[in-house]
C-alpha cells in the first residue's frame, strides 16, 4: 500500500544496539504513579463541572424490533427532567456509517432507543421507565451457529453470513491429497467482554460555539473527528480531553452514542452533560470480542507442515467489519500452501469492538491447537515442528523481508525457562494422585511497527526542565513514562524534570493508542523534538559560553565541554524567558520492509480430571518487540496480557439467552475475569534487540503481543496433560468434564 506522508525535517540515526543509554532501557517508576495511588489522578468519571446534568440511555428490551412510536410526555413531566432525545426529535447525527444514533430498527437487547437528561442520575434513571415505546417485535437470532443455519430468521437483507476475506497461496488441495498426515478440527471461542474498569463515558460542555468533551478514550483525535462528522463543526471549535483513563482494550477507539447524547443535550440545554455507562450497559452495548467457529485442516509430509486451510465464522453482532481470525494462519509460519476464508456473521447481539489483538487471539488458539494436533499425528515434538517453519526472514504473505525477526530466539529462551525437555507425550504425573500435568506452547505474530503521522513539541524551560506536548493519551499502559524517558534521554536531563502533556486535541496530533501502535509511533517523534531542543540549546550555549558548538554536549542537566559543566539554568540565566521549542515528527516507515513483532508463550498446567479443574501454574512469555524502553512497564504490559488471555482461556464467557436475547452475564459476578488468586507465576523475558531499521528508537509495540498466544499455550498444555483435546474455550470445569465423559 502506498503511504503518503508529510515529512518535516530529517530523521535521527537510530540508537544502535550498543549505544550507551542511561534512561531508556532502565526501569522507571510511573511518572503518574503517585497521582494514581493517592486518588489525585482525574478520570473522565471524576469530571464534575458546576451545574452538570446527567444523561441516561433507554435501551431496547427486544433483540430486534421496529420503533414505531415514542411517547416521552410522562418522562418530561417528572420534576428534574431537562430533556428527552429519541428517534423522532433528534437531529441527524452521523455515527459509524449510519445517519442517526437512534435507529428505526433496534437490533439487540441494549440498543439505544432514547436518552434522558436530568438534574441527577437517579431522576434520569427514573424517567427512563416513564418513556412509552411502541415496538413492533421482529424475529431474531442471537447464537452464532443458529445464525449460520439457513433455517433461522434472516436478520439482514444480504443474509446473516457475509463473506469477509479469502486468501490463498500455493495449492492447498493438492498438498492435502499428497500428505502423510492430515488433521482436522472444529474450534470454538466464546464472546469475551472488555470490562474496562472505567466504563465508557463522556462529559460535554459548550462555551458559545466551542465544544469541549471529556472522554474516556484511546484516541482524543478520533473522538474529535467523530464529533465533527456528527455535529458538522469546524475542528477548531472542538476540544477533546482525556487525562487519565481506566482501560479500553480496543473498545474506546472513537466516539460512542453517549458522546453524541452528551453533546446534543449540552447544546440544547446549555449546561454541562455527563453520560457514562454503568457496568451492565458496558457489558451489553460497549463492544466485545466475537465468538468464533473455526475449522482448521493441517497437512504434514516428511516432517514438515505442507498445507493449512482455515475457515472461520465470527459473531459480529451488527458490526460492519470482522476481526479476521485467519491472520496468524497466513503470516505466522513459513508454510507454502495456505487457504484462509473468514466470514462475518450477523446476529441480534451487541456488536464487536476491537479487543486487544482482535481476531488474532481467537485465530491463534485454533491454529496453534491444530499445529499441536498435527505434530501429535506426525509423532514429532510440537516445538520442533514449529522451529522448522519459524526461521524464515521473509514474510510469507508479502514476500518482503522483515526488518528483524527473532522468533527462534524466543523459542530457545522459553523452552529453557519452562523446562520443555520434560514434556512427554500424554503428559506428566501431577503433584497429587490423579492429577495430570501438561506443558504447551504457542507463538505470536503481530504488527507493532507504528506509523506516521505523530508530532511532538518539547519546550525547554529556563531552569532546565522541559514540557513535552503530544496529542496521544495514556490508556493505563505507561505512555507518559515512556515519553518522559525518551525525552530525558535525548535532551540530557533528568526524567523528573520532564512534564508530559497529553490527552488533549489542542496538542499536536498523535495516533490512536491501539494495535500496539503507540510506542513505535510517538517515541521517534518525541525523540526528534527533544533532539531539536537540544541542538537549539547548544546553539545558545555556544554563544553564551563562547565555546565552539562542536565541543559541547548536554549531560545530566548541564552543558558540558572539556570537563566544564554549566547547568542549563545557568546558560539561560541572563536570557530571561528565552524558550527553546523543539519540534519533531514521526518519519515514514522504511519501504519494502515488513515490521512485525514475534513471541512465544509456554504454559505449565495441572488438571484434575475428576473435577475438571484447570490450574495454570506458570506462564513463560518471551517477546521480540525491538528495544525495551522501560523494562518495568513492559513487564506489566505482558503480565496484563497474559492475565486477560487466561480469562479468555479458562473462565470468561458472555452468555446470552436465546429466546429473549438478554445477556445473562452482564455483571462482574457472573462474567468471570480472573482474580488475583487465579494468576499464576508469569515469567517475562524479552529478546531486547533494537530494531534499528524500524525507527530511530528501535522500539516496537507490546500492547497486543502478550495476549495473543497465551490461551493457545494453555489449551495445548491442557491437551498434553489430559490426553484429550478440548476445542472450545473457555476451559471451564464443565467443558473439561464433558469432554472427558465424551472421550471415555
Amino acid at each position: 500500500m502506498e503511504q503518503l506522508a508529510l515529512v518535516q525535517g530529517d530523521d535521527a540515526e537510530a540508537w544502535a544496539a550498543d549505544a550507551v543509554l542511561t534512561i531508556v532501557g532502565r526501569p522507571q517508576r510511573r511518572v503518574e504513579g503517585a497521582a494514581k495511588v493517592t486518588g489525585r489522578a482525574r478520570y473522565t468519571h471524576d469530571i464534575r463541572l458546576p451545574g452538570t446534568l446527567h444523561a441516561r440511555i433507554l435501551r431496547s428490551p427486544h433483540p430486534r424490533a421496529r420503533v414505531r412510536h415514542v411517547d416521552a410526555s410522562r418522562a418530561l413531566a417528572l420534576a428534574g427532567v431537562r430533556g428527552v432525545l429519541h428517534r423522532f426529535n433528534t437531529p441527524k447525527t452521523a455515527f459509524r456509517g449510519e445517519e442517526t444514533i437512534f435507529r428505526e430498527e433496534v437490533r439487540f437487547v441494549g440498543d439505544e432507543v432514547a436518552a434522558v437528561a436530568a438534574d441527577t442520575e437517579a431522576i434520569a434513571e427514573a424517567a427512563l421507565s416513564l418513556i412509552v415505546v411502541d415496538y413492533e417485535v421482529l424475529p431474531h437470532v442471537v447464537d452464532l451457529e443458529e445464525a449460520i443455519d439457513a433455517a433461522s430468521p434472516r436478520i439482514d437483507e444480504k443474509g446473516n453470513v457475509l463473506d469477509a476475506d479469502r486468501y490463498e497461496r500455493g495449492d492447498v488441495r493438492k498438498e492435502f491429497a499428497a500428505a502423510d498426515v492430515v488433521v482436522e478440527g472444529t474450534y470454538r471461542t466464546s464472546t469475551q467482554l472488555h470490562n474496562s474498569l472505567e466504563t465508557h463515558g463522556a462529559v460535554a460542555v459548550w462555551d458559545g460555539d466551542q465544544l469541549t468533551v471529556y472522554e474516556s478514550t484511546q484516541h482524543v483525535f478520533g473522538v474529535r473527528e467523530g464529533l465533527r462528522n456528527a455535529l458538522h463543526l469546524p475542528l477548531a471549535n472542538i476540544r477533546v480531553l482525556c487525562d487519565h483513563m481506566g482501560g479500553g482494550f480496543g473498545s474506546k477507539g472513537g466516539i460512542g452514542k453517549y458522546t453524541i447524547v452528551a453533546a446534543l443535550f449540552a447544546r440544547e440545554i446549555g449546561a454541562p452533560v455527563r453520560c457514562v455507562l454503568d457496568r451492565h450497559e458496558e457489558n451489553v452495548a460497549a463492544g466485545n470480542r466475537s465468538a468464533t467457529l473455526q475449522r482448521v485442516r493441517a497437512a504434514g509430509k516428511d516432517g514438515r507442515i505442507t498445507a493449512i486451510a482455515h475457515e472461520s465464522w465470527s459473531n459480529v453482532g451488527q458490526a460492519r467489519w470482522v476481526a479476521d481470525p485467519t491472520g496468524p494462519t497466513k503470516g505466522l509460519y513459513d508454510v507454502p500452501n495456505v487457504l484462509a476464508h473468514a466470514h462475518r456473521v450477523l446476529t441480534n447481539t451487541g456488536s464487536l469492538a476491537a479487543f486487544r489483538a482482535p481476531g488474532y487471539v481467537e485465530g491463534t488458539f485454533a491454529l496453534e491447537s491444530a499445529i499441536d494436533e498435527l505434530a501429535d499425528g506426525m509423532g514429532v515434538d510440537p516445538l520442533a515442528l514449529r522451529r522448522r517453519h519459524a526461521g524464515s526472514q521473509v514474510d510469507p504473505v508479502s514476500k518482503m523481508r522483515y526488518s528483524l525477526k527473532r522468533l527462534v530466539d524466543c523459542y530457545d529462551i522459553g523452552a529453557e525457562e519452562i523446562g520443555w525437555s520434560r514434556r512427554a507425550r500424554g503428559g506428566l504425573r501431577g503433584s497429587a494422585p490423579g492429577l495430570r500435568r501438561g506443558l504447551g506452547m504457542a507463538s505470536q505474530l503481530w504488527s507493532g511497527g507504528g506509523t506516521p503521522p505523530a508530532y511532538a513539541t518539547v519546550h525547554l524551560n529556563p531552569d532546565g526542565t522541559a514540557v513535552v506536548r503530544i496529542g496521544t493519551q495514556d490508556i493505563g499502559t505507561g505512555t507518559r513514562t515512556v515519553i518522559a524517558q525518551v525525552c530525558a534521554e535525548e535532551l540530557g536531563i533528568d526524567v523528573r524534570g520532564v512534564r508530559v502533556e497529553i490527552g488533549d486535541t489542542d496538542a499536536p496530533y498523535a495516533p490512536i493508542s491501539a494495535g500496539s501502535l503507540t510506542v513505535a509511533s510517538i517515541t521517534p517523534a518525541v525523540r526528534l523534538a527533544a533532539k531539536d531542543a537540544r541542538e537549539q540549546l547548544l546553539d545558545v550555549a555556544s554563544g553564551v559560553l563562547e565555546v565552539g558548538r562542536a565541543e559541547l554536549r548536554v549531560e545530566g542537566g548541564a552543558v558540558v565541554s572539556r570537563g566544564a559543566r554549566t547547568p542549563i539554568a545557568k546558560v539561560f540565566e541572563d536570557l530571561e524567558n528565552y524558550t527553546v521549542i523543539g519540534k519533531g515528527s514521526r518519519m515514514p516507515n522504511p519501504d519494502d520492509i515488513v515490521l512485525k513483532t514475534f513471541g512465544a508463550h509456554f504454559a505449565e498446567v495441572e488438571v484434575d480430571p475428576a473435577t475438571g479443574m484447570v490450574v495454570v501454574e506458570r506462564v513463560v512469555a518471551v517477546h521480540d518487540v525491538g528495544r525495551i524502553v522501560d523494562p518495568l512497564t513492559a513487564r506489566s504490559q505482558v503480565e496484563g496480557g497474559v492475565i486477560q488471555a487466561l480469562g479468555f482461556a479458562l473462565s470468561e464467557e458472555r452468555v446470552v439467552d436465546k429466546p429473549t436475547g438478554r445477556v445473562l452475564t452482564s455483571g462482574l459476578e457472573t462474567y468471570k475475569v480472573p482474580t488475583v488468586r487465579d494468576v499464576p507465576r508469569i515469567v517475562v523475558r524479552f529478546v531486547d534487540v533494537p530494531d534499528t531499521v524500524a525507527n530511530n528508537v528501535g522500539a516496537k509495540g507490546l500492547g497486543e503481543p502478550p495476549i495473543i498466544p497465551a490461551a493457545a499455550a494453555v489449551a495445548n498444555a491442557v491437551a498434553n496433560g489430559l490426553g484429550v483435546r478440548i476445542r472450545h474455550l473457555p476451559l471451564t470445569p464443565r467443558r473439561v468434564l464433558d469432554a472427558l465423559a465424551a472421550a471415555s
Binding site: 479443574m613 439467552d657 459476578e669
Partner: protein, 325 residues
Amino acid sequence: MKPFTYVRATSVAEASRMVVAGSAPLAGGTDLLGLMKGGIASPARLVDLGGIDGLNGWSRERGAGLRIGALTPLVDLETSDQLARHLPIVREALRDTATLQLRNAGTVGGNLLQRNRCWYFRDAAIQCWLKGGTQCFAKEGENEHHAIIGTARGCNRVAPSDLAPALIAHDARVTLTSTRGTRSVLLADLFTDPALHSREEHTLRRGEILTEVQVPESGLQRRGTYLKAMERKTWSFALVSVAVAARIRGGKLRDPRIVLGGVAPVPWRVEAAEAEIDGHPFSDDLARRAADLLLADAAPLAKNGYKVPLAKELVRRALARIAAA
C-alpha cells in the same frame, strides 16, 4: 432503585414489629442492596438490625453446644482460631465464600437468608416462575449452573450459601423470633421444601428475625469438612459444594451427614445415602455407593450433566478426608 426509608431497630421485638409488609430486615446489606439495585427487591422500608445488642458474636458453653449470633460478620467466624477448634468446617466453608470485602460486611443470618443467584431470577426484566411468572427460563435455557436434583416443578435454582450445608452437616438449628413468639427450627427446615412448589426460598414468616444459630453438643462431636468447586479460585458461587460430617469411632463413620450445595434448590441431603455408610469404615467403594444414592434421582438439564460426576467426586474426597484426619 426505588426510593425507600431507613430505620434502625434497637431490639429484636422492635425490629419484628417494624418488619411489616413492604419492609425488609437489613443486616450487612450485601445481598439485599444488590437485589434492590437490580430491581428484584423493592422494599419501601429497611429495618437495620445492626444496632440491636446481643446478636453479634459466638459462645460455647460446655454441654450446651455452640451459639452464633445472627449479626456476626462472616469474617469474625472465619478468623477465630478458637471457633476453628470447635467447628473447623465453618472456616473451611467461609474461606471460599464470596470475597474478603463481602465477608467483612456480610453476616451469618444474611448468608443463610440470601436469595439464589439464578441469572434469570436476578434479571429484573425476566418474569420467571419464582417471581410469580409461569415458567422457569433456565429449564430450556442457559442452565449450566442450575439444579440437577430436587426440582420437581417450578424452579431450577440452586441453594447458594456455603455456610448452610456446613452448618446443616452439624445439625444446626436457628432461632426465629417475632412479636408472636420464638421458635427453634432445624436449619435444614429454614429452606423451603421444593416439593411444595412454594415461591419462597425460606420458611421465615413475616416479621420473624433470625437471632441465633445453635450447633448442639452432638453436632460438635462430628468431624466435618467442606469442599467447593468453582469456576475461578475466589469470588464465585459453588458449581457444587459438599459438607460432610461424622463421628469417627474405631475407624468407622458414625451418624454421618452429607449435604450438597449448588445442586438443588435447597441444601441437599438423602438419608439413605447417610445410612449406607453409617457404621462402616471409609473406603472409596463405600463413598461411591453413598454418592450414587445421594444423586440417584438426579435429572440433569441440557448443560449441567457435569455436576453429577463432580458432586460424586467431591463426596468421595470429603469422606476420605474426614476418615483420614
